[in-house]
């Protein structure tokens, strides 16, 4: 029950989004730390591999402008990701809630057992 693919995928999705958001928060906190490189995970790849239960790979983001002190955090990029991750998490949690609700309705049927 609730072990169907639909619900498990949503849970994995939410877990990965949370992981990604943690890295965004760390990037923002270290936006002015000398030498700090922006970190992220490859979301699509990790989501496909998520069912194996391994920890996601944290990678350094390529193609960012490096400032004089070696830091390459772009607050614009992080702010955008912050909003996107939060919205996706929101969607996923609403979908999950709906599924739980539907299952409960199905189980309880027309209101209790018949005499």
């Amino acid at each position: 029950m609730l072990d169907g693919v639909g619900v498990n995928s949503l849970e994995q999705y939410m877990t990965l989004l949370a992981d990604r958001q943690k890295l965004v928060a760390a990037n923002i906190a270290n936006a002015d730390t000398p030498g700090f490189k922006t970190k992220d995970i490859d979301f699509q790849t990790e989501f496909t591999n998520a069912l194996q239960g391994t920890q996601p790979n944290v990678t350094e983001v390529q193609g960012l402008v490096v400032k004089n002190d070696g830091n390459n955090v772009s607050l614009d990029r992080e702010a955008r990701l912050l909003a996107e991750n939060a919205l996706r998490f929101n969607i996923a949690s609403n979908l999950l809630r709906g599924q739980i609700h539907t299952l409960r309705m199905a189980i309880e049927g027309g209101g209790g057992s018949s005499a």
């Binding site: 958001q21 760390a26 923002i28 000398p34 944290v58 992080e78 998490f89 929101n90």
Partner: protein, 145 residues
Amino acid sequence: MSLFNSLDVSASGMAAQRARAEVLVENLANADTTRTAEGGPYRRKDVVFESSATASPFSSVFQSAIDGQATGVQVSQIVTDSSAPVMRYMPGHPDADKDGFVAFPHVNPAEDMVDLMGASRGYGANVAAMSAIKDMIQRSIDLFR
């Protein structure tokens, strides 16, 4: 627990940016201070940021890989400028030396103002991050409904 840990990360960012702002404000306020208690002009200060692991009292030793990577920040040291002060020729000044030069701090107000704006922006970004994460935790709790 690790989304909760992220709150600590954002909090550390806020604290670091605030410390940076405080130092910059001190520099700006003392941009023309030619006499201090220790003698000599004011010496500007700078903060040095460093990545640091954050641990809340609720977390355990079993940290996931992500938690190890999602580090916070701390002010590792406050550096006092030790270079020679800026000398300006002002013979009538009470702090002028025998040649009429007054030692002034190495503070460039324009630069520190821009820096201060950066600190303010950084602080705001950390506040936004903390708010977003708090919202995600709340949504998880809403799964109970």
